[in-house]
Amino acid sequence: MFESPTLQTLTDYNIWIALPAIALAFGTMFLLVIDVFLPANRKHWTPILALVGIGISFLINLFTYNPEQTSTFGGMFVADAFTGFLNIVVLITAFISVLLSTDYLRRTETNHGEYYILLLLSATGAMFMVGANDLIVIFIGLELLSIPLYILSAFRVTYTDDRDATFVLKSEESGMKYFILGAFSSAFLVYGSALLFGATGTTNLREIFAAVGPILESSAENSGALLLLIGAALSLVGLGFKIAAVPFHMWTPDVYEGAPTPITAYMSVAAKVGGFAALFRLMIVGLSGLTLDAGVDPAAWQGTIQVIAAVTLILGNFVALSQTNIKRMLAYSSIAHAGYILMAVAAVGSAGLVPDIANTAAQAGLVYLLAYAFTNLGAFAVVLALENNDGTGTELSDFNGLYNSRPMLALAMALFMFSLTGIPLTAGFMGKWLVFSAAVQAGLIPLTIIGVLTSVISAFYYVRVIVNMFLLTEDEGSPAVGETAPVRYAVYASMAGVLIVGIAVPLVTNLVNMVSLV
């Protein structure tokens, strides 16, 4: 029935194009074994080996980077510029998160090797989601991304009778909330996938695209169109939870506040990258033909995404105004940024008929993700440097007079806040500029106006942090107990990233120009 694989068929399978993700998976398994046999006084090698694994995967990704779309595993996994670019974002995120973790784990007495293994597993899941071209792979990648994150959110758990050890209670509470809502949302995603599979008879996104047209034409005599619509809606609910779009955002502030800070930094970027990659692929590659009047109307999901984007922008930015804890504020700011990236998705949807505009919008979304990754990782790195071992030190007032005690950290934080606001010469400006211009090209004028107005509002809460650091000079400033060498490197790397993406624009646009989804 099945032919056994020979060496020749193995090369025909093209497995090498999935090599960055496979290498990271192998590296993780290798690390799992190594960590068991490391003697107790050599445990500090685990993070170093994790960094080496990420580096190897990064190099392989650079060497196999190929804008031509190639597929493997029977079309389930594709490699193109989209995959290559987002792999870079995921690997950078994992690298910086490991740098942030080493000293944090040591000083909070949670230094277990599994931590790095789970982190790398989660990155592997994100990389598989980025290249997924099949509903099954999207689902498996999403779970591989999420399940380690549930554990990592609850990583500060110890058995304690001490009611004052709030960091323990917060961490396990955030793990439980993330788990319940994450599992709940993936059930929605997979129910939607099952309906899409039922309507089209295939799980492959390209084949779904080919099947959608005939189904809509014959929808008078069958209910395929209804199945497609419900399937798309339920998938959108499931992915909306992962990217923290309103109204599926309720878990975000609690989980971001309670989870260990390096994990908050990691998941605020990696979970969004994975979720948006799946959203782009599913909605654009799979369902862009889902429209009442093919060739005239935009895709049917596009209006919904516009509404979700608008609500996300408004609610995220306004609620962030009233936050006093920096981790909660950054959580609401990350909700707001999901809104900006959703603008890019909506722009692709409404421009689906004009491939040029649609591809520009997809590229804008990718640049935004890269800019967001550097900026958010940097901001959380500074928060981590100020955080005390018992989880305190993350209030906005703890930033008062930081310029007096740690001028370098204060300058770095100011840069990240400017980038999140979208001030020119920073990465955030590039991202916002590209997304807004793509949305205007696609004719989404009201949504663009909402985007611009809400980014003006966002300046208020971002600049407040800067005011606290530089102008409240009577405070002597936080001692920044967490500012150790690896954390400093992470801050410098993020600063470099923010400035490079913001100033050396052609470098990024050349890389991203090869992305074409339509």
């Binding site: 498996i140 509470e173 997979v190 099952a194």
Partner: protein, 111 residues
């Protein structure tokens, strides 16, 4: 032969019961059971769709490309099992510190 719509109705009902369980139950373990119901509803859907999309001939002698519904369902078991293992572990640690498995009673995080 039982028509496809019957399976879909059973599956939709099961999914809705699961959603109701997650939203209405206060006990963490019962919430987990609701999630399991939702995932199993998906399995019914997948297998029913697969059976009705494939011809009789290819059921007895499967073609790899037509197996995706079954493969999807098999992956669902694996993922559901992994999720439950992690979820119960988290709920047990919560119980040890709070003496409660009721999510609403764990309320250090607010704002």
């Amino acid at each position: 032969m039982v028509p496809l719509s019957w399976y879909l109705i059973v599956s939709a009902a099961l999914f809705s019961i699961g959603v109701f369980g997650v939203l209405s139950r206060r006990n963490g373990v019962a919430v987990l059971m609701g999630i399991e119901l939702m995932l199993n509803a998906v399995n019914i859907n997948l297998v029913a769709f697969w059976r009705y999309n494939t011809t009789i001939a290819s059921v007895t002698e499967p073609v790899p490309s037509e197996l995706s519904g079954m493969v999807f369902a098999a992956f669902m078991f694996v993922v559901a099992a992994a999720e439950v293992a992690v979820g119960l572990a988290i709920i047990i640690t919560v119980y040890r510190n709070w003496r409660s498995v009721i999510p609403e009673e764990t309320d250090t995080l607010r704002g």
